[in-house]
Symmetry: C2
Subunit: 125 residues, 2 copies
Protein backbone atom coordinates (compact mmCIF):
# COMPACT_ATOMS: atom_id res chain seq x y z
CA UNK A 1 0.00 0.00 0.00
CA UNK A 2 1.20 3.51 -0.78
CA UNK A 3 1.63 6.12 1.92
CA UNK A 4 -1.51 7.87 0.63
CA UNK A 5 -3.53 4.67 0.88
CA UNK A 6 -2.25 4.07 4.39
CA UNK A 7 -3.21 7.56 5.55
CA UNK A 8 -6.62 7.20 3.90
CA UNK A 9 -7.14 3.98 5.81
CA UNK A 10 -6.25 5.78 9.02
CA UNK A 11 -8.70 8.60 8.40
CA UNK A 12 -11.44 6.21 7.27
CA UNK A 13 -11.51 4.32 10.55
CA UNK A 14 -12.00 5.14 14.20
CA UNK A 15 -10.90 2.01 16.02
CA UNK A 16 -7.41 0.58 16.29
CA UNK A 17 -4.78 -0.81 18.63
CA UNK A 18 -2.04 1.10 20.35
CA UNK A 19 1.22 -0.57 21.42
CA UNK A 20 3.80 0.95 23.69
CA UNK A 21 6.69 -0.18 25.82
CA UNK A 22 6.42 -0.47 29.57
CA UNK A 23 9.28 -1.36 31.89
CA UNK A 24 8.30 -5.01 31.95
CA UNK A 25 7.65 -5.32 28.21
CA UNK A 26 5.29 -4.13 25.50
CA UNK A 27 1.53 -3.80 25.87
CA UNK A 28 -1.40 -3.39 23.45
CA UNK A 29 -4.69 -1.60 24.01
CA UNK A 30 -7.69 -1.25 21.71
CA UNK A 31 -8.71 2.40 21.35
CA UNK A 32 -11.10 4.70 19.58
CA UNK A 33 -9.31 7.47 17.78
CA UNK A 34 -9.54 10.26 15.27
CA UNK A 35 -6.97 10.96 12.56
CA UNK A 36 -6.56 14.69 12.05
CA UNK A 37 -3.84 16.58 10.17
CA UNK A 38 -1.37 13.71 10.24
CA UNK A 39 -1.94 12.87 13.87
CA UNK A 40 -3.78 10.14 15.74
CA UNK A 41 -5.78 11.55 18.64
CA UNK A 42 -6.92 9.38 21.54
CA UNK A 43 -8.96 10.42 24.54
CA UNK A 44 -8.53 8.40 27.69
CA UNK A 45 -10.38 8.18 30.97
CA UNK A 46 -8.37 9.16 34.03
CA UNK A 47 -6.82 6.19 35.74
CA UNK A 48 -7.09 4.04 32.63
CA UNK A 49 -4.19 2.00 31.38
CA UNK A 50 -3.85 4.52 28.61
CA UNK A 51 -2.73 7.05 31.15
CA UNK A 52 0.53 5.07 31.30
CA UNK A 53 1.37 5.61 27.62
CA UNK A 54 4.97 6.83 27.58
CA UNK A 55 5.71 10.07 25.77
CA UNK A 56 8.01 8.40 23.29
CA UNK A 57 7.66 6.40 20.04
CA UNK A 58 4.52 4.26 19.99
CA UNK A 59 2.90 2.02 17.39
CA UNK A 60 -0.67 2.10 16.17
CA UNK A 61 -2.40 -0.45 13.97
CA UNK A 62 -5.67 -0.49 12.03
CA UNK A 63 -6.87 -3.43 10.01
CA UNK A 64 -9.81 -5.00 8.27
CA UNK A 65 -9.73 -8.76 7.98
CA UNK A 66 -12.27 -11.02 6.29
CA UNK A 67 -14.11 -13.40 8.63
CA UNK A 68 -12.16 -16.36 7.22
CA UNK A 69 -8.88 -14.53 8.02
CA UNK A 70 -7.68 -15.22 4.51
CA UNK A 71 -7.76 -11.68 3.13
CA UNK A 72 -7.66 -8.11 4.34
CA UNK A 73 -5.31 -5.26 4.98
CA UNK A 74 -3.35 -3.84 7.86
CA UNK A 75 -1.78 -0.42 8.36
CA UNK A 76 0.92 0.31 10.91
CA UNK A 77 1.67 3.87 12.01
CA UNK A 78 4.49 4.94 14.26
CA UNK A 79 5.30 8.21 15.87
CA UNK A 80 5.94 10.14 19.02
CA UNK A 81 3.16 10.43 21.61
CA UNK A 82 2.37 13.74 23.27
CA UNK A 83 0.00 14.45 26.12
CA UNK A 84 -2.00 17.47 24.94
CA UNK A 85 -4.47 17.43 27.83
CA UNK A 86 -3.47 20.90 28.94
CA UNK A 87 -1.63 22.23 25.88
CA UNK A 88 -2.75 25.76 25.09
CA UNK A 89 -2.05 26.00 21.37
CA UNK A 90 -5.02 26.30 19.03
CA UNK A 91 -4.65 22.88 17.36
CA UNK A 92 -4.56 21.09 20.71
CA UNK A 93 -7.68 22.93 21.80
CA UNK A 94 -9.46 21.90 18.61
CA UNK A 95 -8.37 18.28 18.96
CA UNK A 96 -9.64 18.13 22.51
CA UNK A 97 -13.10 19.07 21.26
CA UNK A 98 -13.32 16.23 18.74
CA UNK A 99 -16.58 14.33 19.25
CA UNK A 100 -15.09 10.90 18.67
CA UNK A 101 -15.60 9.58 22.18
CA UNK A 102 -18.81 11.30 23.24
CA UNK A 103 -19.37 9.02 26.20
CA UNK A 104 -16.34 10.53 27.87
CA UNK A 105 -17.51 14.10 27.52
CA UNK A 106 -17.47 15.86 30.80
CA UNK A 107 -15.01 13.38 32.22
CA UNK A 108 -11.56 14.67 33.03
CA UNK A 109 -9.54 12.44 30.74
CA UNK A 110 -6.18 12.67 29.08
CA UNK A 111 -5.86 13.48 25.42
CA UNK A 112 -2.91 11.91 23.63
CA UNK A 113 -1.72 12.92 20.20
CA UNK A 114 0.58 10.78 18.11
CA UNK A 115 2.40 12.60 15.34
CA UNK A 116 2.55 9.92 12.67
CA UNK A 117 6.11 9.84 11.37
CA UNK A 118 5.94 6.68 9.29
CA UNK A 119 3.19 4.48 7.92
CA UNK A 120 3.28 1.15 6.17
CA UNK A 121 0.54 -1.12 5.04
CA UNK A 122 -0.03 -4.38 3.30
CA UNK A 123 -2.87 -6.23 1.72
CA UNK A 124 -3.01 -9.99 1.87
CA UNK A 125 -5.22 -12.59 0.32
Amino acid sequence: MTETQCREALSGHSYGRLAFALEDGPTILPVNYAYVEGAIVIRTASGSKLASVPMTTVAFEVDEIAPDHMSGWSVLARGHAFDITTAIDELSETLRELPFMPWLHGEKGHVIKINVREVSGRQFS
Copy 2:
Protein backbone atom coordinates in the same frame (compact mmCIF):
# COMPACT_ATOMS: atom_id res chain seq x y z
CA MET B 1 -12.68 -10.93 33.10
CA THR B 2 -11.25 -13.81 35.10
CA GLU B 3 -8.07 -15.57 34.05
CA THR B 4 -10.17 -18.56 32.93
CA GLN B 5 -12.36 -16.34 30.75
CA CYS B 6 -9.29 -14.72 29.26
CA ARG B 7 -7.71 -18.06 28.37
CA GLU B 8 -11.02 -19.30 26.94
CA ALA B 9 -11.13 -16.20 24.74
CA LEU B 10 -7.59 -16.97 23.55
CA SER B 11 -8.43 -20.58 22.69
CA GLY B 12 -11.72 -19.62 21.03
CA HIS B 13 -10.08 -17.34 18.48
CA SER B 14 -7.41 -17.65 15.84
CA TYR B 15 -6.60 -14.08 14.88
CA GLY B 16 -4.92 -11.44 17.00
CA ARG B 17 -2.22 -8.79 17.10
CA LEU B 18 1.34 -9.22 18.28
CA ALA B 19 3.36 -6.30 19.65
CA PHE B 20 7.07 -6.34 20.26
CA ALA B 21 9.88 -3.88 20.75
CA LEU B 22 12.34 -3.07 18.00
CA GLU B 23 15.35 -0.83 18.39
CA ASP B 24 13.48 2.16 17.03
CA GLY B 25 10.27 1.56 18.97
CA PRO B 26 7.36 -0.85 19.28
CA THR B 27 5.59 -2.48 16.35
CA ILE B 28 2.29 -4.35 15.89
CA LEU B 29 1.48 -7.14 13.46
CA PRO B 30 -1.80 -8.96 12.87
CA VAL B 31 -1.30 -12.72 12.99
CA ASN B 32 -3.13 -16.01 12.83
CA TYR B 33 -2.37 -18.18 15.81
CA ALA B 34 -3.30 -21.26 17.78
CA TYR B 35 -3.53 -21.38 21.56
CA VAL B 36 -2.26 -24.72 22.85
CA GLU B 37 -1.36 -25.75 26.39
CA GLY B 38 -0.96 -22.23 27.64
CA ALA B 39 1.05 -21.03 24.67
CA ILE B 40 0.33 -18.92 21.61
CA VAL B 41 1.81 -20.45 18.47
CA ILE B 42 2.45 -18.41 15.35
CA ARG B 43 3.83 -19.59 12.05
CA THR B 44 5.64 -17.10 9.89
CA ALA B 45 6.92 -17.04 6.37
CA SER B 46 10.66 -16.66 5.99
CA GLY B 47 11.67 -13.09 5.45
CA SER B 48 8.46 -11.74 6.91
CA LYS B 49 8.45 -9.02 9.52
CA LEU B 50 7.56 -11.65 12.06
CA ALA B 51 11.00 -13.12 11.60
CA SER B 52 12.25 -10.07 13.51
CA VAL B 53 10.27 -10.85 16.68
CA PRO B 54 12.78 -10.62 19.52
CA MET B 55 13.07 -13.62 21.84
CA THR B 56 11.97 -11.66 24.87
CA THR B 57 8.69 -10.52 26.43
CA VAL B 58 6.04 -9.72 23.83
CA ALA B 59 2.38 -8.72 24.01
CA PHE B 60 -0.54 -10.33 22.23
CA GLU B 61 -4.08 -9.00 22.00
CA VAL B 62 -7.39 -10.53 20.91
CA ASP B 63 -10.66 -8.64 20.87
CA GLU B 64 -14.19 -8.61 19.61
CA ILE B 65 -15.77 -5.21 19.20
CA ALA B 66 -19.30 -4.36 18.12
CA PRO B 67 -19.55 -2.47 14.81
CA ASP B 68 -20.58 0.69 16.66
CA HIS B 69 -17.41 0.38 18.81
CA MET B 70 -19.52 0.85 21.92
CA SER B 71 -19.24 -2.64 23.38
CA GLY B 72 -16.98 -5.64 23.26
CA TRP B 73 -14.08 -7.26 25.03
CA SER B 74 -10.33 -7.31 24.80
CA VAL B 75 -7.80 -9.77 26.19
CA LEU B 76 -4.11 -8.99 26.59
CA ALA B 77 -1.56 -11.78 27.01
CA ARG B 78 2.10 -11.33 27.74
CA GLY B 79 4.94 -13.76 27.81
CA HIS B 80 8.32 -14.75 26.50
CA ALA B 81 8.71 -15.61 22.82
CA PHE B 82 10.69 -18.63 21.70
CA ASP B 83 11.67 -19.69 18.20
CA ILE B 84 10.75 -23.39 18.04
CA THR B 85 11.42 -23.78 14.33
CA THR B 86 14.09 -26.39 14.91
CA ALA B 87 13.42 -27.45 18.51
CA ILE B 88 13.51 -31.24 18.81
CA ASP B 89 11.28 -31.80 21.85
CA GLU B 90 7.97 -33.59 21.29
CA LEU B 91 5.71 -30.61 22.09
CA SER B 92 7.54 -28.38 19.62
CA GLU B 93 7.21 -31.03 16.95
CA THR B 94 3.48 -31.29 17.62
CA LEU B 95 3.04 -27.51 17.54
CA ARG B 96 4.83 -27.25 14.23
CA GLU B 97 2.26 -29.62 12.70
CA LEU B 98 -0.74 -27.52 13.72
CA PRO B 99 -2.95 -26.92 10.69
CA PHE B 100 -3.80 -23.33 11.57
CA MET B 101 -1.99 -21.73 8.67
CA PRO B 102 -2.42 -24.35 5.95
CA TRP B 103 -1.44 -21.99 3.14
CA LEU B 104 2.07 -21.92 4.51
CA HIS B 105 2.46 -25.69 4.49
CA GLY B 106 5.51 -26.73 2.64
CA GLU B 107 7.03 -23.30 3.05
CA LYS B 108 10.08 -23.02 5.24
CA GLY B 109 8.76 -20.65 7.87
CA HIS B 110 9.59 -19.88 11.44
CA VAL B 111 7.40 -21.11 14.25
CA ILE B 112 7.22 -18.88 17.30
CA LYS B 113 5.79 -19.93 20.62
CA ILE B 114 4.81 -17.47 23.32
CA ASN B 115 4.52 -18.93 26.80
CA VAL B 116 1.67 -16.88 28.25
CA ARG B 117 2.74 -15.72 31.69
CA GLU B 118 -0.01 -13.22 32.39
CA VAL B 119 -3.42 -12.48 30.93
CA SER B 120 -5.87 -9.71 31.60
CA GLY B 121 -9.14 -8.85 29.97
CA ARG B 122 -11.94 -6.38 30.15
CA GLN B 123 -15.42 -6.03 28.81
CA PHE B 124 -16.79 -2.63 27.97
CA SER B 125 -20.18 -1.37 26.98
